[in-house]
Amino acid sequence: MYIRTRRELAGFISERMNKTYVDLSEDQRLELGSSLAKVYLMEVHLDSGASHKEICGFLNNSASIFQKEHRVKATIVETDEEKFFNAKFEVSGEAATFYIDASDGRFWFLHSMDKSETIDPLVEKMAIGNQDIDRAWMPIQLLEAIKNLGELRGLNLDYDRRKIRDIDFEAPNAPPEFLIMQMWGNKAEKVLQILSDDKAFPTSTTLSKVKIRYRADSDSKSDYTLDDIKYDGKITARGTSFASHNTLITTLMRKYSNKIRDIEQRFAMSYNVDDGQFSIQGSPIFVVFKNPIPNLVFFCRSLFSCSYPFKLWGVPMIINDQHIRVSGIDLHIGKKLDFEITPEFMRIYLPENTCANSVIRIITNLQHYYDSRLDAQDSDGKSLLEY
């Protein structure tokens, strides 16, 4: 379906949200061929102020790369409005459409009403295959901030330590190898508290999805959205109020983008010489682990193995038994990132031209694959993950 304006898109999403809400409330299943309204929050390597022409050029170039690499037909269609596009894909004879709102040239909303089975792999391929596109990764702290905006109606936990097996899982006090859970209902908050308690599974309880009921207008009881927000930036929605859904996703994106800009502004490292005066700008980000890393070398080898989900290249150089340095490359974007790893913390040096999305992606994935209590802090120990 071709959509010309954002207003038209709002009508389309609103209708779908209502219909799926009624179907699921009455029949506990969707009508055949129907699917939930979805939006993927994405970050691309363009400036926030990129022009319509620049965005259009970027999209067409990305579509041709996509077509070449994945042998999937991809077409970009301009609309009546600036920085708003339809992206059409043909996968094994099946059509799928994304409605791209690139009002902010860097932080995009990809809306779709097509089936997850068709479009999730497309988004995955876009994010994996194109170094200029990535998801808006959400650390636990952002999901928690968002859940507090509405009423928590369910959650998913997703933790898997098997990618970095640096402990003996058979030992008596070993933490869980993996902890995956899905829960719907109003007791979700209570369950989360119990599991993340120090006496339970504090470093393995990783929030991966929250379902919240949110009202943009708190006085209007009947107008709300029921959104599932996943840590990789995918959101599905149903309910009675598009305005509530729209307010929620734009709030989420603003929190995400403000954090990215803040990190780049405060921490990006640069070395300058002005009038003979040498200066270093920026400082490292401290990723602080709840429990000390038991085997530094093994941890580094796993982290810098070039594989999913970290996709980091680098050779660990042992400075001493408490300190390893890695001059790394983030293979997703092909840019440098320098690391120093000690048992208690990891310094990440973000070069001035490397996007802070890399740092947030690493932190988020470490929460899912290593330590859910992990925090990122500045030199004074203040958390960077307060949203």
């Binding site: 490292p284 340095r325 310094r347």
Partner: protein, 310 residues
């Protein structure tokens, strides 16, 4: 401490830069007093037009005070160097070292040495009756051993000793210097090479790699640049002759015309997207072998030795 004795210059450079920037595992006195890094190995002339080159200069506008550091890895003082340092004036710092504002009004040339060598180092200071504060670096402290600073707060801190955890000092502000072993420099050189491969750059030039991998390249003097350039050239030559033989090839024609250059003849970024990470993983293993070989001198994948390119 092991860091300090094996590489005094880099360890102390990174320590003091880290302290200025408020590194969490380091004492925060320098940041509180607003000392900022002004220059590294800045060469200038003293009041008698003799050259001096402190390892690091820190300047604090707040305290109207500058610190010029000279560190000694060994047990001997260079008498002539001390004499030249003693002839530095505030005017030299303002007009020749180009320290702006109030910071050059008061200054201290500060000597740092290992505690084990202190007795001998102090002989040089005492014989020349120099007023330079001398700090001794021991297993866990930096302690003022002789003379005092023109800044009261520094005296208070260094007289009781500043606790330092040498094992956790950040080592990435200045990761290597001209004295560093090839394998240390190669870590940054290969990072730069892989980044360029990821950007699909068809050629790797020494000059480009140098300015990309040496963070302080723009403030280094010519002789220092020449030394580092030479080491980078050796690293790329060895890489292309041995472990990276299938990836990099020396381009004689371009090198003859200008800077030494290597062609990228095999690049994992050109593989299908599902095979790329595997390709880079292979390069990761090769880099590890290469860095190891630079340490041990035992290269693999080699062919008969050829002369290094000019």
């Amino acid at each position: 401490m092991e860091n300090l004795s094996s590489n005094t210059n880099l360890t102390l450079l990174n320590l003091f830069i880290g302290m200025c920037r408020g590194e969490r595992v380091l004492p925060d006195v320098l940041r509180r007093l607003q000392y900022k890094e002004h220059s590294i190995e800045c060469k200038f002339q003293n009041s008698e037009n003799e050259t001096v080159q402190p390892e690091l200069i820190l300047a604090s506008e707040l305290k109207a005070h500058s610190l010029l550091f000279e560190w000694k890895a060994g047990a001997n003082m260079d008498d002539d160097q001390l004499r030249r340092y003693s002839k530095i004036t505030t005017e030299d710092l303002k007009q020749r070292a180009l320290i702006g504002g109030q910071a050059p009004n008061k200054f201290d040339v500060t000597i740092i040495g290992l505690d084990d060598n202190m007795e001998r180092l102090l002989i040089g200071i005492r014989n020349g009756q120099y007023r330079f504060p001398v700090l001794a670096a021991s297993a866990d402290t930096l302690l003022l051993k002789e003379n005092s600073f023109a800044c009261l707060e520094l005296n208070q801190v260094f007289q009781v000793g500043l606790n330092i955890d040498w094992k956790l000092i950040p080592m990435n502000y200045v990761p290597f210097d001209k004295e560093s072993d090839l394998c240390i420099i190669a870590e940054k050189v290969m990072q730069s090479v892989v980044e360029k491969m990821h950007r699909r750059e068809p050629r790797i030039g020494v000059e480009d790699v140098a300015s990309d991998s040496v963070k302080t390249w723009r403030i280094l003097d010519d002789s220092c640049r020449q030394t580092i350039r030479g080491k980078i050239k050796t690293i790329l030559s060895k890489a292309s002759r041995y472990e990276f033989r299938g990836y990099l090839k020396y381009n004689r024609e371009m090198s003859r015309k200008g800077t030494a250059t290597w062609d990228v003849v095999n690049n994992p970024i050109e593989l299908d997207s599902d095979k790329r990470n595997k390709g880079f993983k292979k390069i990761n293993s090769i880099t590890e072998r290469f860095l190891d070989a630079l340490k041990t001198g035992k290269h693999s994948n080699g062919q008969d030795p050829l002369p290094f390119p000019d």
